[in-house]
C-alpha cells in the first residue's frame, strides 16, 4: 500500500528513505548499492524496501467501504 513508517522487526524509522530509494532504483541503480548508501544495515529493514509494492495510487481511486 504505502511504505511503512518503521521496520517491522527492529523499529528503525525507514519511511523517509523510500522516495530516494524508489527514484534511484527506477533509474536502474542496483538495489543493494542504494540500500548501502542509505545506511540501511540490517536485513530486516532491507526486506521492507525490497518487498514494497505501491498500491495507494490505485486503491485511492476507489471509495472506502
Amino acid at each position: 500500500m504505502i511504505i511503512p513508517i518503521r521496520c517491522f522487526s527492529c523499529g528503525k524509522p525507514i519511511g523517509h528513505l523510500y522516495e530516494e530509494y524508489r527514484e534511484r532504483v527506477d533509474k536502474g541503480e542496483d538495489a543493494k548499492k542504494v540500500l548501502d548508501s542509505l545506511e540501511v544495515e540490517r536485513y530486516c529493514c532491507r526486506a521492507v524496501f525490497l518487498g514494497q509494492v505501491d498500491l495507494i495510487d490505485i486503491a485511492g481511486a476507489f471509495k472506502k467501504g
Binding site: I2, I3, I5, C10, G11, K12, P13, H16, G60, A61
Partner: protein, 259 residues
C-alpha cells in the same frame, strides 16, 4: 565497572562502548532500561476532522503514532506523574495540527507543532498519499510514554555482545578463512600467513566458523561487553544512556525504602 567509548556517530545517534568489569546481568539491565523505561513523546490521541484519503482513520493514526518526535525530557512529564493528575496540561501533552489538501505525499513537515523544540524528527516521513480532491485535517495529541506499553515509545535499539580476542597459530589454508568469515576485514592474508586486523576485531560475530575450519585459531572471551546504542531520533544516543542510569538509581532507591 568501567566504560570505554569505541565509536560515536552523533548525526546518526549511534554509540558503541566497551563495558568492562561487569556481567551479563548488568548489561541486560541497561538494555531493558533503555528499551522499556526511558520515556519519549509519541502521538497517542487524534481528532479527525476530515480524511477521505485511501488510508482508513485507524491506519493514519497508527502511522502517526510511529513517527518519532524530538523529545525534550526537561519540559515534559509522564501523565501519571504530572501535577494536573492526568487531566492533560501543557506539561504532559503536546498538540500538533496536520492539514493538507495537496496532491501527493503528506509529510511530517506539514504538521505544525505548538512546541518548536518538539517536532517530528524526520521531516520527509510520508504519512499518506493524496490524490486530487482528497484531503486530511486532524489534531494530534502527543504524550510521554514508556516502551513497555507500546513500541512507539521505544527511544532506540540497545544490544550487546561479548568481546573476543582472536588468536591465530599456523593456519593451513588462510585464503579459505578470509573467504568464509562473515564479517569483512577481520582476517587478511600477508605472505601466505593469516593476520588479524586488530581495529576490526570488534566486528566479530563469534560465529565460530574460523574455529571450525582450522583448529589453530581460537576465540578467547575477554569478559568485556561491546554495547551498542542506536537512537530512533527522539533523543540523542548519550541522553538515552543518561536517563536509563537515572531511572536505575531511582529504582534502587525505591527498593531500598521498601526493604
Amino acid at each position: 565497572m568501567k566504560l570505554e567509548k569505541l565509536k560515536e556517530e552523533k548525526k546518526k545517534g549511534k554509540i558503541t562502548f566497551l563495558l568492562k568489569d561487569s556481567d551479563e546481568v548488568f548489561a541486560n539491565t541497561i538494555r531493558r532500561l533503555v528499551m522499556e523505561e526511558v520515556p519519549v513523546l509519541a502521538v497517542e490521541d487524534l481528532e479527525i476532522k476530515d480524511n477521505n484519503s485511501a488510508l482508513y482513520d485507524e491506519m493514519v493514526g497508527l502511522r502517526l503514532g510511529l513517527c518519532p518526535i524530538k523529545t525534550d525530557l526537561k519540559s515534559y512529564e509522564l501523565k501519571e506523574n504530572c501535577k494536573c493528575g492526568g487531566e492533560g496540561c501543557a506539561r504532559c501533552e503536546l498538540k500538533i495540527t496536520l492539514k493538507s489538501g495537496k496532491n501527493g505525499y503528506v509529510y511530517c513537515e506539514d504538521a505544525v507543532s505548538t512546541d518548536p523544540k518538539c517536532t517530528f524528527a524526520y521531516p520527509k516521513m510520508p504519512i499518506v498519499k493524496l490524490l486530487p480532491k482528497q484531503k486530511v485535517e486532524m489534531t494530534l495529541t502527543a504524550v510521554l510514554g514508556k516502551g513497555k506499553d507500546h513500541a512507539k515509545w521505544i527511544p532506540g535499539l540497545a544490544f550487546y555482545k561479548r568481546e573476543v580476542n582472536i588468536k591465530v597459530g599456523k593456519v593451513a589454508n588462510p585464503e579459505q578463512i578470509v573467504q568464509q568469515c562473515p564479517a569483512p576485514g577481520i582476517f587478511s592474508v600477508k605472505g601466505n600467513k593469516l593476520e588479524v586486523n586488530s581495529d576490526k576485531v570488534h566486528d566479530c560475530q563469534i560465529c565460530q566458523k574460523c574455529v571450525e575450519l582450522d583448529e589453530n585459531i581460537s576465540l578467547e572471551e575477554t569478559g568485556n561487553f561491546i554495547f551498542s546504542l542506536e537512537s530512533w531520533g527522539q533523543l540523542a544516543g548519550k541522553e538515552m544512556l543518561h536517563h536509563a542510569a537515572e531511572i536505575l538509581v531511582a529504582k534502587v532507591d525505591e527498593m531500598e525504602k521498601l526493604l
